[in-house]
Symmetry: C2
Subunit: 227 residues, 2 copies
Amino acid sequence: MSAANLRARVRAEMTEEIKTVARRHLATDGANLSLRAVARDLGMASSAVYRYFASRDELLTALIIDAYDAVGAAAEEAAAAASAPLDKWLAACHAARDWALANPHEWALIYGSPVPGYQAPQDTVVPATRVLLLLGATLAEAHQAGAVAERPPVTAGFVQELAPIAASYYPEMPPRLIADTLAAFFQLCGAISAELFGQLNKSVEQDRRGFFEFQMRGAAALAGLTG
Amino acid sequence: MSAANLRARVRAEMTEEIKTVARRHLATDGANLSLRAVARDLGMASSAVYRYFASRDELLTALIIDAYDAVGAAAEEAAAAASAPLDKWLAACHAARDWALANPHEWALIYGSPVPGYQAPQDTVVPATRVLLLLGATLAEAHQAGAVAERPPVTAGFVQELAPIAASYYPEMPPRLIADTLAAFFQLCGAISAELFGQLNKSVEQDRRGFFEFQMRGAAALAGLTG
DNA sequence: TGTACATCAGTGAACGCGCGTTCACTGATGTAC
DNA sequence: TGTACATCAGTGAACGCGCGTTCACTGATGTAC
């Protein structure tokens, strides 16, 4: 509440405002976002943006981190509101899809084609894993509760390959379930991207939500998650 | 072989050469491909390219159609060389992945985020369906041969929604299998894109081919395709 | 077979535009004595 | 409480660049009589 804090707060608000406008611009420019256009929309000189972000890439990074966090938070919240494992699973998937439909260009930014010339810094790694970890946690919980069907184990090579992930995140989980989690997550991304990137046009037009759920129930079934 | 034909042939070769160089540029510029840069690489004035393509978008369209056709042809060829249904299925999937690994930027062009401001013309629709139709045909064939497990039917809404596809492409196939085909195709795209767009970094590093096959066997299983 | 004409690939300059980033600066706000 | 100083958000001009597209043109190649 001191003067210094006020200054910091105004600064934080301005930073947010720049990001908000930049997010809007993702829609028209895609990933080759223009700093100047953002500044123009804010009614400020393009050079002023450099008080807040050292470069265009740094602004992009901020948008990417925010997007990962937003979709992650949405999925976590939805999963937390459900109780049965399969319900949690489907709630998380639907929440991710709903978020993607509401923010298609942010989805494209994080799960679409890589931005040419952009190198994601280390800070994006942790937020990027939130949805994946949530699916894994849901499956791990179901597994402990005995709600996951027994499945043939994966090969020894995979066991070794997945060992670091197992050690860091899921010490109790058999490697097979980790492989299933990864596969399910990619199924989730694939289903959402297919819908967002237009591959459903001319095939599924009416009940896309239903078709998505069909796919996510399939993903759950592959992971041994019984209804 | 007449003089007119010679001129036409030279023109066709030049057109191919422009596309080849443009494909190379996809790697650095992504979808915001620069006509001038392509012309520069060819040692010609940028205006000369307009003798061959009416606009940048038209060049992009040509690249997109070629890419769809290339991955489609690769998958078809691989499938034709196999005989058992599951072998055909896996061969097609691996061929698509191999093509994508060899041509990552073309893959991104057709299955990645849409190019901002680009509207795909009608000509791209048919080539875009080749891989999907191949998966469907493989499944249809297996179904006729009795190699597809019986599965619960889809809802009446889906039956209606998928009716046009069924009528056009798979008159003999139950709607459930059409839904499975679509889902499997999106799983294929999701798995390849995940690998190409970097989401496998730090999780599966060694045996990506094996992990891909694990996923595609899953997709086949979901579609009722028995080994 | 020779000549007049048509076709058309390619040139180079220009138009009008936008971009990221830097830099010296102004002026308001906050801080220390 | 008043004053000198430091901080820092924001300005506006500039640098050096690249872009898609158009246009009047040159000159080689092919065609028709």
